[in-house]
């Protein structure tokens, strides 16, 4: 029996020592507990946002497919059904491209929430800390603005869960409360970001410009004008002399881009795989409807730079640097999120709306954009063409039409056309006009909330018509 006693004693010693033995130590991965402690961690957490912004659905392929094809500026001839249904307005809630946009924007929101939650307690240079936090708020504001615009009532998540027990199910938020949060975040960014910033990083004016856009699309023209004027009056921005140097033959750092997704030889984009014709290394599946072009002057510099014609079909070359990327496919041309031309055109429209007709300031703003389109810098020689006369003598309605027309070409395939059509409630007509087989309806003013999320949230309500 003595050995039994020994055995039991041994067992007890063993079990008490067991607690350490059964402790899992994770040496293969970094986890939250090891991280978010130093200033370098803070920077690496912030950098995650920039990395995710480049994702497929954020400002990558799915984004431009969804926005370009769902409007009247894109036709699709390929055989991928989720893309084809975007182009003919028959997309449903299970569309994978739409889901990509949703998931990528929420990934950016999550990375922003991490910075906003974790950085305040990190010991680091206090001035830098203010900027890190403000950049995170800028991006959170940006993606919630996009999400609300695309899907309307989306959940407004402001926490960053790191474990199963920190996750929770959220209700949908209404438009007003999402926009209130966007305003809070972006106003914080306006006051806390520096007036100038490195290429690819937002500054104070970028936040002001986004605020202007948000109010503009809400048709709150007084507020939109205030924020636009802040950018204009700063004199920090001006139009690039030729659209060719803004896009195809780019100057990475220019005075027109307020905020953009940067591209370089080290960070090539893939938009041209979609957009270019096959002879230039693209898919040839994405086209601009030819009827889209009939109202523009053939000498318009933008047509020359933005498009190419092949077998009576028009393809977007806006993002194609023909000198450095002769065989197409990749691009090192920045993808603009907001640029000064947009501020000018929004400002002109605000003036027109507020004063119930165009003012001198409105004319001068839109005419700056037109004047640029009339000239071309070819072999360093500025050629001014006899087209696009300055706008004069228009009334409220005709000025609105003229601006709308201007924006259509100026911002071709920059993801703005869809929102412009939604704002003017002209989406259905415009899409049916260029795509006879498409069946657009009022439901297309919002995209469907992805089926994946609807199944997880039985209490949510899907956008009408899906």
């Amino acid at each position: 029996m003595r050995s039994l006693t020994y055995f039991i004693v041994f067992l007890l010693i063993f079990i008490t020592g067991c607690k350490d033995f059964l402790q899992e130590e994770n040496l293969s991965y970094l986890d939250e507990i090891d991280f978010y402690k130093t200033s370098e961690d803070a920077e690496n957490a912030l950098n995650a946002i920039y990395n995710l912004l480049d994702d497929q659905g954020a400002y990558g392929a799915s984004y431009w497919r969804v926005k370009g094809l769902a409007s009247d500026e894109g036709l699709y001839e390929g055989n991928f059904s989720d893309i084809a249904t975007l182009a003919n307005a028959s997309y449903g809630s299970s569309n994978s491209e739409i889901k990509n946009v949703w998931s990528s924007f929420y990934a950016v929101a999550y990375a922003s929430n991490i910075v906003i939650e974790k950085v305040p307690s990190i010991e680091m240079d206090s001035a830098r800390k203010v900027v890190v936090l403000a950049e995170a708020k800028f991006f959170r504001g940006l993606v919630y603005m996009e999400l609300q615009r695309l899907f309307n009532e989306v959940p407004l998540m402001l926490d960053a869960p790191f474990s199963d027990s920190e996750t929770y199910l959220m209700p949908q938020s209404n438009k007003a409360s999402i926009q209130q949060q966007v305003v809070t975040d972006l106003e914080h960014a306006v006051t806390s970001l520096p007036l100038s910033s490195a290429w690819g990083r937002p500054n104070s004016y970028a936040a002001a410009a986004l605020l202007s856009r948000m109010y503009f699309l809400n048709q709150d023209y007084a507020q939109a004008k205030t924020w636009a004027m802040l950018v204009i009056n700063s004199t920090a921005y001006s139009l690039e002399s030729d659209v060719n140097s803004l896009f195809k033959n780019r100057n990475d750092v220019n005075n027109e881009t307020i905020f953009a997704i940067t591209r370089s030889a080290n960070n090539l984009g893939n938009i041209n795989e979609d957009l270019l014709p096959p002879s230039l290394g693209g898919s040839g599946n994405y086209r601009v409807p030819s009827s889209f072009l009939t109202n523009f002057d053939t000498l318009d510099r933008r047509l020359e730079v933005f498009l190419t014609e092949e077998d009576d079909r028009y393809y977007v070359t806006k993002f194609w640097d023909e000198i450095n990327e002769s065989d197409g496919g990749t691009t090192s041309v920045d993808f603009p999120i907001i640029r000064f031309a947009d501020i000018l055109l929004m400002y002109a429209e605000c003036e027109n709306e507020i004063n119930n007709g165009p003012t001198a300031e409105a004319y001068s703003a839109v005419n700056l954009v037109r004047a640029r389109a009339r000239q071309a810098l070819i072999n360093e020689v500025l050629e001014v063409r006899d087209i696009l006369p300055d706008l004069v003598g228009l009334d409220y309605d005709t000025f609105v039409e003229a601006l709308h027309h201007e924006r259509k070409l100026e911002f071709l395939w920059e993801g703005l056309r869809w929102a412009d059509l939604v704002k003017k409630e002209g989406l259905i007509d415009a899409v049916s006009e260029v795509k006879p087989t498409a069946v657009p309806s009022a439901r297309n003013y919002y995209f469907p909330i992805p089926l994946f999320e609807m199944e997880l949230h039985p209490d949510w309500s899907q956008n009408a018509g899906y």
Partner: protein
């Protein structure tokens, strides 16, 4: 612990163990008797045990088998059974690393099957509860030979055999392919490319060039057994050299195994066993879900090209690569780069070695007559090295050069089990009690390097330093577990037996929390109880029931931690580092727990017939789930315990043995019905299934559906006349010659929400039948096995039936292609998504019946043997995979692209084809 033997048929080499007809004495005597040609220990399980489903994942030499005992007990965790080799438990894994091409060698294959004395499948809860938190998916017990009861014997065995492919798809030849290309062009309104397609004749037959017509296999074994009164010793040396049926692939295996058992006095006994084994294998790129492998390459690569062409070009009338508008050669495939399969098999090669050192010992000491101390200790080290090289010749359009990889992995597993047992006998009543602990640790360390751009390709993977760009990786996976167990067994008058197991288990993987896993079993000997007193023709029967809980912890380590991954990217021209969580912590993760109930009975009839019937019901109450998460929580999914799945079924076994004069005949037949259902899916249906050729989410996990339910589109039919009223997947007006799908939700759109369940990858029924007959020294053995009621997703059809002109197709598909002139054709000439759609056409019935093993042998007569002073000589011819009855159109219905992964069963795509093996050999017993 010793299980209670109710009765045992030594003649049948089958035993009932607590009501389970689950034990098989592979070679009960040392005399050379004819057995089948087994190359892998898992083959011993095929067709022999009711309810044990064995699938050969890949036909590559040495690759692993997938085993399911009583259905799939886990979907998102591992569902393989626990292996216990000479008392040391572990999970079998294969060398399926990213650092080799094709399917890797399975670590279990390093145990020579011919040295196995006994293999058992435990599936009843009273048996599996002994293994507690690892028992839920069944337990395979393997004991190697120990030389007992053999004064002295030496057996020498050798065989030589040939393997060949048994079914290859018939593809279009050169002329047929050219004609097909013309048709594709015509459908798009283009002029014919080839003025006279038949000029191209046969063209290149890539499959014929890829596969060996007769791949040689050779095996040599020598086995020594010696014993005296209290000590026995057994030793085996063996060598296997197997060429693969795909050129440039093959396996060599060296084994040295020994076991010593001794009982120096009445109180003490011990046994030690060891395995020293090494395998060396060459593999080529097969079993690749993205379709870049040699098997899919041989399907797709244009027969109009020759062996020096690397890329799949379009050719012109003269057979020269055709140039597009931009002057570049037109590639046949745009979205998937397909390389010349012969060049790929030559220049993308892997070499890998595995060394396994296994040692196990136990000591048992009777402290008193009633009290015994037992301790078992084991270590198992597996060391493998992988070398791969991807030649620059395979990337003619790039200037990056070849890619060399080298990885070293070592896994180390140690185990100790100690207990005290107490036994008291009172008349014919026996009480046994046992108390003990079990402790185990596993560790896997990996170091890998990759390098590309070598100045001289001769050096390759042995000179990673000379490459231009290099990456290094390393990782560690460590887990420990502990269990305490008490067992009480009471046997009343050798008639009634009651067995109680109390066990508590903890694993570092689940935070070290103890989980209580009890089981209770009851058994009754009907004969002894007098129930069958009037029925003389039944010589024995018993009835048993058991209930209990068992666990499963097959899930990757560290899931309880969030994981931050680094990536390097450029913002403008600035290189930046970022860290972002790619996984958030499953901080509430627990092991899977199954509640199981069994009821059954066995009987033995006097004239040599026996049978067994069992019912089981195993409900996994907190099944691992890859739970979809709302995206605002940061990740798309999270592993939780929120599922409930149930496997229930009936197993029947019947055996018969008769001896009439010199004619011996025995038969074993078994059949099992299993129904595996998802009882609860957590919060919403889960789509899963790893991407195959760009198609993912081909399975669904949803309440009320079968485990492994296939999810896709139901076909409405061919569109023969264009119509605007027919809804299509791309929302376009339906064109003639396309396929239309059923609008399940009737919303006028065809999209992903119109998918439905199209079948299930798990069989409803598995069966086996084996028989052995011998007379006048001749013996004949046959083993048939089969499954029914399962479906296979035949992804190969996306290639073989795809009419978009991007590669070669099967002859049959071309005949069935819809054309204006062939309105009866049921294969669409144009499809959305390049035809990469999981629909009804890919889902096929996977039922089959196969003559798996065949053997005929002759034992030389005793009179002759005495003259030459040998114990026995046996000459045999044997065959594996002789014939298969199936409606399945692919090469092999017994297939799984993703090996033993529970998440991805039932996919067939470009796997290494399994082969037919015929061999001749002899055994000599000295």
């Amino acid at each position: 612990m010793r299980t209670i033997f109710i009765f045992c048929f030594s003649w049948m080499s089958l035993c009932f163990t607590y009501g389970q007809l689950d034990s098989l004495w592979v070679e009960p005597t040392s005399l050379p008797v004819t057995t089948f040609n087994y190359l892998h220990p898992d083959e011993l399980l095929i067709g022999k045990f009711a309810g044990t489903w064995v699938t050969q994942a890949s036909g590559a030499p040495g690759s692993d088998y997938s085993i399911r005992v009583r259905g799939s007990g886990s979907v998102f965790g591992g569902a393989e059974p626990l292996y216990v080799i000479n008392g040391i438990p572990h999970y079998n894994t294969a060398n399926n690393s990213d650092h080799i091409y094709g399917s890797g060698v399975d670590f279990l294959s390093l145990i020579d099957p011919s040295n196995i004395k006994e293999i058992k499948v435990l599936s009843n809860v009273v048996a599996t509860a002994q293994y507690g938190s690892r028992g839920a998916n069944g337990v395979i017990l393997i004991e190697t030979k120990d030389g007992a009861n053999e004064p002295f014997s030496v057996d020498i065995q050798t065989f030589t055999g040939y393997q060949n492919t048994y079914k290859l798809p018939i593809l279009l030849d050169g002329g047929g392919f050219a004609a097909y290309q013309n048709d594709v062009g015509a459908n798009e309104g283009n002029d014919p490319i080839y003025t006279n397609p038949s000029n191209f004749g046969k063209g290149s037959d890539w499959q014929q060039q890829l596969y060996r017509k007769a791949a040689l296999i050779q095996n040599y074994r020598i086995n020594l057994n010696v014993s005296n009164n209290n000590t026995s010793f057994s030793m085996l040396g063996s060598y296997l050299n197997q060429s693969g049926i795909v050129n440039h692939s093959g396996l060599k295996r060296y084994n040295l195994q020994a076991r010593l058992a001794s009982q120096p006095n009445d109180r003490l006994s011990f046994s030690s066993s060891m395995v020293l084994a090494r395998s060396e294998s060459n593999s080529v790129l097969t079993d690749d879900p993205d379709g870049f492998g040699v098997v899919t390459g041989a399907y797709l690569f244009s027969p109009l090209l020759g062996s020096s062409d690397i890329l799949n070009y379009q050719v012109d009338n003269d057979g020269l690569p055709m140039n597009g508008n931009d002057g570049r050669s037109l590639n046949l495939l745009s979205s998937h780069k397909i390389l010349n399969p012969i060049a790929l098999s030559q220049y993308a090669s892997s070499f890998s070695t595995i060394s396994r050192l296994f040692w196990s010992s136990h000591i048992s000491y009777d402290i008193t007559d009633r009290l015994t101390f037992y301790t078992q200790l084991g270590v198992d080290g597996i060391f493998n090295e992988d070398f791969s090289y991807f030649g620059s010749v395979l990337q003619p359009e790039l200037s990056v050069g070849g890619i060399g990889m080298n990885a070293k992995q070592q896994s180390f597993n140690w185990f100790n089990q100690s207990y005290l047992s107490y036994q008291v006998t009172h008349g014919s009543n026996v009480l046994k009690a046992k108390i003990g602990t079990e402790i185990q640790g596993t560790l896997v360390e990996l170091l890998s390097g990759q390098s590309r751009g070598f100045d001289n390709e001769k050096l390759g993977y042995y000179a990673l330093g000379s490459g231009a760009t290099k990456t290094i990786g390393s990782s560690l996976d460590e887990a420990q577990s502990f269990a305490a167990m008490a067992n009480l067994d009471y046997n009343l008058r050798s008639t009634y037996d009651i067995n109680l197991i109390l066990r508590t288990d903890a694993s570092s993987r689940f935070g070290g929390d103890f989980v209580f896993l009890p089981a209770l079993g009851f058994n009754m000997d009907l004969k002894a109880a007098g129930v069958l007193s009037g029925v003389d023709w039944i010589s024995g029967a018993n009835l048993y029931a058991g209930a209990g809980r068992v666990g499963n912890q097959q899930i990757p380590s560290y899931l309880r931690f969030s994981q931050l991954d680094q990536s390097i990217f450029y913002l403008g021209n600035t290189e930046l580092k970022s860290f972002v969580p790619t996984r958030i912590a499953s901080d509430q993760l627990q092991m899977e727990i199954s509640n199981q109930f069994d009821l059954g009975g066995d009987f033995l009839v006097r004239n040599g017939f026996m049978g067994s019937l069992e019912y089981y019901n195993r409900t996994t109450i907190n099944a691992f789930i890859e739970m979809p998460m709302p995206y605002y929580n940061g990740v798309a999914s999270l592993v939780t315990n929120s599922g409930v799945i149930r496997n229930s079924g009936i197993e029947m076994t019947a055996g018969f043995k008769n001896q009439v004069g010199k004619f011996d005949w025995n038969v074993n037949a078994n059949i099992a019905f299993n129904s595996g259902k998802v009882i609860s899916e957590g919060s919403s249906q889960i789509l899963y299934g790893t991407g195959v050729y760009g198609m993912n989410d081909w399975l669904i996990f949803d309440e009320g559906e079968a485990i492994g339910a296939i999810y896709g589109f139901e076909i409405n039919g061919m569109v023969t006349t264009a119509g605007a009223d027919i809804a299509t997947l791309d929302g376009e007006v339906a064109k003639a010659g396309t396929i239309s799908y059923k609008d399940q939700n009737e919303d006028g759109l065809i999209d992903h929400s119109d998918r439905v369940v199209l079948g299930s990858v798990t069989p409803d029924l598995i069966y086996g039948f084996s028989t052995n007959m011998s007379r006048y020294g001749f013996d004949l053995s046959l083993l048939f096995q089969g499954v029914a009621g399962n479906e296979i997703v035949n992804f190969n059809k996306v290639i073989l039936n795809n009419m978009n002109g991007t590669g070669n197709i099967s002859e049959e598909a071309y005949e069935n292609m819809w054309r204006a002139t062939n309105q009866q054709g049921d294969l669409p000439i144009s499809t959305p998504n390049d035809g990469k759609i999981v629909d009804q056409s890919l889902v096929e019935n996977g039922s089959y019946l196969r003559l798996k093993y065949f053997s005929i042998g002759y034992n030389l007569p005793k009179s002759l043997l005495e003259k030459i002073k040998v114990q026995g000589i046996n000459i045999f011819i044997s065959g594996n995979n002789i014939f298969t009855l199936t409606k399945y159109s692919g090469m092999n219905p017994d297939v799984s692209l993703f090996n033993s992964e529970a998440q991805n069963m039932g996919a067939d795509f470009g796997g290494y084809p399994s082969s037919k093996l015929w061999s001749v050999g002899f055994k000599i017993g000295l």
